[in-house]
């Protein structure tokens, strides 16, 4: 007879799940090789506004002047060269093209949003439009890697990994950092990698670009051999053997960790698929996300999955929507992209709000840069890194706000400039982490996500 019940086993584990025994603690890190629970929830540096992040990554560089950065100046100067203003050279000598879409004011705040986002615009009073965003390079590979790791010159941990390292995660049955359909190129796994942070902090990819999210699975989540009951018997046999070993070696937190990891894995087998299955969602909810409608089905499912992960306690959730690199075919393709994401994102905000989760879930929308206000062949825009827009919602940011601004045409951020480093600093701040204090010792010095950069945009914090 098995001498320990599962409950006893769990009780006996002193350090909780996720044991990290470190041969020379985390490579070249701290001295004390003590047992720590690396994924257990950790206290932030100070009171957090947000407990989790949903990052909606619009890969390719969405056009800000056609979506969230209203520039009447473009109409006035249509067909002209941008003139002598800073950053004009990035327009490659092309002529200014006004947005083919109309902007209207929404909500009590009267935020201007283009007609591309009618559903999202209904939540204008929850949105904080950051119009003065800018980044270092107008180049996809570097900009995307910098967006995800703060750096493009060296391999560095991703934002999600830093967050997980700083805060742990609230549901040990699930990965703490998931990324849905991440790109396989432009840095690939580097964009959710943990670099020199321990491997437990790396992101778990679910699905890949081009694959339907319905087919996406977390690896090794189901047993190909036994039914659950038999597998439980198998687990009992395994845990008996592990307990015998532990008895010989007691106390041994590392072995306790192994025992617990098996129990958790066993639970994950049912918890994860359940979470990724929408059977318990009402038809209204599905509809709210645009699930079942051709245009919005895929991203709607991703957004709903994000909500389910958020609700279940996953700390950092990223969703990638590809194809915003509209050098040509802007009118058709931007319409298509916004159409595919508008309703799902609006649904996500509404749903989170309804469940009282928006207040501590930080939603970030943005790409690696924006697009030039000057046109390429009258139906395309190039890369614009000197000024573009991202927006945030929930998680303690002020709604109905426009923060920062680009110049008259949307070329260069001129007011409350918000670099990618500032995005990172502000994200960490909202999560209760001081970006200057969240450090990790590697190769003889302390590293941080923002390196020596980053300013928290205090004005947007509610």
């Amino acid at each position: 007879m098995f001498p320990y019940s599962r409950r006893q086993v769990l009780k006996s584990t002193s350090c909780g799940f996720g044991y990290l025994a470190l041969a020379g603690l985390a490579t070249e890190s701290a001295r004390a090789a003590k047992a720590v629970a690396p994924l257990a929830p950790k206290e932030p540096h100070y009171a957090a506004k947000a407990r989790r992040v949903i990052f909606l990554c619009m890969r390719g560089g969405p056009s800000h002047v056609d979506t969230f950065d209203y520039k009447p100046g473009l109409k006035k100067h249509e067909g002209e060269a941008p003139g002598n203003i800073e950053g004009a050279a990035s327009q490659n000598g092309r002529k200014l093209m006004p947005s083919p879409w109309k902007f209207q004011q929404y909500g009590e705040s009267g935020l201007p949003v283009s007609d591309l986002y009618p559903n999202l615009a209904e939540h204008a009073d929850d949105l904080c439009l950051i119009n003065g965003a800018h980044t270092t390079l107008p180049n996809h590979p570097q900009a995307l890697v910098q967006l995800h790791t703060g750096q493009f010159q060296f391999v560095r941990p991703s934002v999600g990994s830093w967050v997980l390292y700083g805060l742990g995660t609230e549901n040990q049955d699930l990965p703490g950092f998931v990324t849905l359909k991440p790109p396989s190129r432009l840095g690939g796994a580097q964009n959710y990698g943990s670099a020199f942070l321990p491997a437990v902090y790396q992101g778990t990819a679910i699905g890949s670009n081009g694959q339907s999210i319905r087919e996406a699975k977390i690896g090794n989540i189901s047993n190909p051999r036994f039914d659950v009951k038999t597998q439980r018997k198998q687990m009992d046999l395994l845990q008996q053997s592990n307990q015998d070993l532990l008895q010989r070696h007691e106390p041994n937190t590392e072995l306790e960790g192994v025992i617990e990891s098996y129990e958790l894995a066993f639970r994950m087998q049912s918890a994860v698929p359940r979470l990724m299955d929408f059977a318990d969602e009402t038809p209204q909810t599905l509809k709210q996300y645009g699930i079942g409608q051709k245009q919005t089905d895929e991203f709607g499912q991703m957004c709903l999955m994000a909500r389910r992960f958020a609700e279940a306690g996953v700390r950092y959730i990223e969703l990638t929507h590809e194809g915003w690199d509209q050098h040509s075919g802007l009118k058709a393709r931007l319409t298509e992209n916004c159409g595919a994401t508008d309703k799902p994102i609006a649904g996500l905000i509404a749903d989170l709000k309804q469940r009282d989760l928006l207040k501590d879930t930080l939603i970030i929308w943005g790409g690696e840069f924006g697009r030039t206000p000057a046109a390429k062949k009258s139906d395309g825009r190039d890369h614009n890194s000197t000024g573009f827009s991202v927006w945030m919602a929930g998680g303690g940011v002020k709604g109905g706000m426009r923060y920062g601004a680009t110049d008259e045409f949307g070329i260069t951020a001129v007011d409350n400039k918000f670099h990618t480093h500032d995005l990172h600093a502000t994200t960490l701040h909202l999560l209760g982490l001081d970006h200057t204090k969240l450090t990790y010792r590697y190769a003889g010095r302390d590293f941080r996500l923002t390196d020596v950069h980053g300013n928290v945009a205090d004005d947007i914090i509610g």
Binding site: L25, P141, P224, L237, D451
Partner: protein, 861 residues
């Protein structure tokens, strides 16, 4: 009143702006990263060259118009005295004046000369140019933050802006010598790691019975000084398993265990050690340890991830080096300067060149537009790997400024940089879409390695041009049919000729090598014109200061350093300097790594960092003893391993005792052998060995070689690298960003990182892998087949399973509960009549999986 400076006009900014004027200061406290912004700005500037020029013109015209044409007015002086000087005195002088306790950043703000010259990295104040004046950036806390703890009031900041704009009138005369942060090397040499290696006297301890070797005496002395005692010897069954995994990374067979348990004599132990050291599997185990350190991988990683199809040669070279017990000093020399050695024969010439692949394997940012920066990034990566792998020093920290913690001045970084800048690196990615930094390879031609082009990415160009050609030919046909004008037809014909020409070139480039078996190698060669390189201000590739003569690190030079030959790169001398007997670091670092792989932790646990921020040795004398033995035994790695495993310290049991665990929970004083987990490769190899499917033949080349050149995620799919064979894990493809799942899940280090020791994490993803992965499920089935065919009786099968995997017999309790489970699993399908024809095999496989997933299998006691 007119000061001298004003009289000679030095207070006015020069109208012709030279580089100096564009320098920006870097506050050293956080300087390295400040640089990154600078890099970034340069990038943008490069990128927006046109804009740069126009803005510059604008600034110039503004500057000229706002400059004070005359000497400062009394009002301006008053402004300085009232608004500026008091703030400088109060807020800045404590760190930035000659009277200050220590001068930070080499920046003196207490004279006009000082404030204009600025600090280590440039001008703090450029009169008339607020946007160029770093002081203003610093007080505004834009990037730099000064004063560091608080920000000055807005009106004060505005005053400073006004002052700079009016030309920064400043009556403060006096010279302030440029402050150079100087390192006191003599004093620095007191640090343990920089002291000469002295072979210590072996200590004598109270317990005369326990020690069997010098190592034991050192360990026992420490234990006794901490009132601890060593543990009993490990039982032979555990010891033999430990020895097999430590030396060859594989479990002993049941017969091998039985033999040793029957005769666990010292002689039998010694014979086993020798046999293992001499087996081919030794190099596969120990070579992999080294591949971690030198961030071995088969692609560039980074934003454009191009394959390195020839990287495997270096992998095989390393395995062979450990198998042949290549003296470690020779091993170092070959990796740094193999191409400069005189080989005895063709085989040696080849190995020497392949060895230099170490310098070429690093991650590379192929999308980089700035060639100089790309070159300096490669140099940096090479300095990083060489200094950390061989010296345990983070010399790369001195790229932008003097090292913050260790005695490595920035100038010495550029002494080393000159050596690597005089070296060409051949990494063979070819060029192509998104790869702006095409890389060539080396090929053996007669008696020499020569650079050759590779075809990467060019096939696409061929396709594109072929398409264009077809289209033009169609156009031509149509034009002729429809009787276009002669001129139009001529135009099309011209276009066709042009495309044909381009296509020919592209085809030549894309063509497979003329000799199909051409021996292509990654590595380095001396460049055509070796030369010293300039110190780069704040590490910025294009901000050149004076050239620095090539040379080595002063702190690690206790004897006479070789003089880098100026007509060559200096790598040969670098290697000679590293292996000099007087070098205090190389042997210590090497010995420490070997110790780490046998005990789980190094004597210095930060194996790649012996500097001030690293760990201190737990047993400094023992470390020196080991380093001394390593060099004395002709740098034989095998001899040192033999010496260590023969100690009684190594043979201790790993069970804890309450007292010792309380006194020394981390086992720093080695009162037992720490239990260790099998690394990813050892775990996978052990599973294969136990299931009977392990293929011990070495891999020929790599999957990556078969896949060929290309950009992963673009021209190559990430699933192109799947491996179906059952060879040892060291032969799995290590593609950056696409590390095989098994390795990734079990703490394989990120292959872009120079990894000295591995993390040991325990997470449910690992448990899921053991429970459900196709690999483990399949291998447990193979193991079940083995049990089912090799013996007939249920209990015997359980025994065999335990013996194969755990090296011991099963207890009666284990047999009983295992058989119970197998019975349950066998009948599980009965309820709903789902019993399958292979139910028996599957039930046994379920049992085998338990053994493979058990903590006992995954750990070394």
């Amino acid at each position: 009143m007119m000061t001298d400076a004003e009289a000679d006009g030095t207070m006015y900014p020069p109208l012709k702006r030279n580089d100096d004027n564009r320098r920006r200061a870097c506050v050293p406290i956080r300087c390295r990263s400040w640089l990154y912004t600078m890099f970034a700005r340069r990038f943008v500037r490069k990128f927006l060259m046109v804009q740069q020029t126009s803005v510059l013109c604008l600034v110039l015209s503004l500057a000229v118009s706002t400059l004070p044409a005359d000497e400062p007015t009394p009002a301006q002086h008053e402004f300085f005295e009232k608004k500026i000087r008091p703030v400088l005195v109060k807020e800045c002088y404590s760190c930035h004046s000659a009277q200050g306790k220590s001068v930070k950043a080499g920046l003196l703000l207490d004279t006009r000369e000082g404030i204009r010259r600025g600090g280590e990295s440039g001008h703090a104040v450029v009169p008339g140019h607020p946007e160029e004046s770093l002081l203003l950036e610093a007080v505004r806390h834009e990037g730099l933050q000064m004063p560091p703890k608080k920000q000055l009031a807005d009106d004060i900041i505005a005053d400073f802006e006004t002052w700079v704009r009016m030309g920064a009138p400043d009556p403060r005369d006096g010279k302030s010598a440029p402050v150079r942060h100087s390192i006191n090397f003599e004093q620095s040499r007191n640090f343990w790691a920089f002291r000469e290696i002295c072979v210590p006297v072996v200590p004598q301890s109270e317990n005369k019975h326990w020690p069997v070797s010098d190592i034991d005496h050192f360990v026992l002395a420490k234990l006794e000084s901490h009132s601890l005692a060593p543990s009993a010897d490990a039982a032979p069954g555990y010891l033999i398993r430990r020895l097999y995994f430590d030396l060859i990374g594989l479990p002993p067979t049941p017969d091998q265990v039985r033999e040793f348990v029957t005769d666990p004599s010292d002689q039998a132990f010694r014979e086993t050690v020798d046999r293992l050291l001499n087996s081919d599997q030794f190099g596969e185990r120990w070579g992999r340890h080294w591949l971690d350190v030198v961030r071995y991988a088969e692609s560039t990683g980074m934003e454009r991830n191009y394959t390195y199809p020839e990287a495997w040669r270096y992998r095989d070279y390393v395995i062979e080096a450990f198998n042949s017990d290549k003296p470690f000093d020779r091993f170092i020399t070959e990796q740094i300067a193999g191409d400069l050695l005189t080989p005895a024969d063709q085989q040696e010439r080849n190995a020497n060149q392949v060895a230099t692949g170490m310098l070429a394997l690093g991650p590379k940012s192929l999308n980089e537009r700035d060639n100089e920066k790309f070159a300096m990034d490669i140099v940096d990566e090479q300095i990083d790997v060489v200094s950390r792998a061989f010296l345990g020093l983070t010399a790369s920290c001195a790229r932008c400024h003097d090292h913050k913690f260790d005695p490595i001045p920035q100038t010495e970084y550029y002494q080393l940089a000159g050596i690597f800048r005089s070296t060409d690196t051949f990494y063979g990615t070819g060029g192509g879409n998104g790869n702006r930094q095409s890389g060539r390879l080396l090929a053996l031609r007669d008696d020499e390695f020569v650079p050759v082009n590779v075809s990467g990415g060019i096939k696409k160009a061929v396709r594109k041009l072929s398409g264009q050609l077809k289209a033009q030919q169609k156009r031509l046909d149509r034009a002729k049919q429809q009787k276009f004008s002669e001129k139009q037809i001529q135009q099309i014909e011209k276009a066709i000729v042009r495309i044909q020409r381009q296509l020919k070139t592209a085809r030549e480039k894309a063509a497979p090598p003329a000799q199909p078996d051409r021996h292509l190698v990654m590595g380095v060669r001396d460049s055509a014109q070796p030369a010293d390189t300039e110190l780069r201000i704040r590490g910025e590739a294009n901000e050149r200061a004076e050239p620095v003569p090539r040379g080595f690190l002063t702190i690690a030079t206790l004897g006479q350093a070789p003089d880098p030959a100026h007509e060559r790169s200096g790598r040969a001398e670098l290697a000679r300097w590293l292996i000099q007997p007087e070098n205090p670091l190389t042997a210590r670092v090497a010995a420490n790594r070997i110790w780490q792989h046998l005990f789980g932790n190094g004597i210095v646990r930060t194996v790649n960092n012996f500097g001030a921020n690293g760990d201190r040795p737990s047993h400094p004398k023992l470390l020196d003893y080991l380093a001394g033995r390593l060099t004395a035994d002709d740098w034989s790695v095998k001899s040192l391993i033999r010496l260590i495993v023969s100690s009684r310290t190594y043979r201790q049991a790993s069970l804890p005792t309450a007292v010792a665990l309380k006194a020394d929970p981390e086992n720093r004083w080695l009162w037992r052998m720490s239990p260790r987990r099998l690394e990813a490769e050892a775990l996978r190899d052990a599973v294969l060995a136990v299931s009977g499917t392990l293929d011990l033949s070495p891999a020929e080349k790599s999957i990556v070689t078969e896949v060929g050149n290309g950009d992963i995620g673009r021209t190559l799919k990430t699933n192109s690298f799947a491996v179906s064979d059952t060879k040892r894990s060291v032969y799995l493809p290590i593609v950056r960003g696409v590390v095989p799942e098994m390795l990734r899940v079990f703490d394989f280090p990120e292959p872009s990182i120079i990894a000295g020791s591995r993390d040991v994490t325990t997470v449910p993803i690992q448990a899921l892998y053991m429970m459900n992965s196709p690999f483990v499920v399949e291998q447990s089935r193979a193991m079940a087949n083995r049990l089912l065919t090799e013996t007939g009786n249920g209990a015997d099968r359980i025994h065999l399973g335990y013996q194969l995997a755990l090296g011991r017999a099963a207890t009666s309790q284990e047999i009983e509960r295992s058989l119970n489970f197998i019975d349950t699993a066998y009948h599980a399908g009965d309820r709903d009549k789902r019993r399958r024809p292979d139910s028996e095999q599957e039930a046994w496989a379920g049992f085998c999986q338990v053994v493979l997933a058990s903590a006992e299998f995954r750990y070394l006691e």
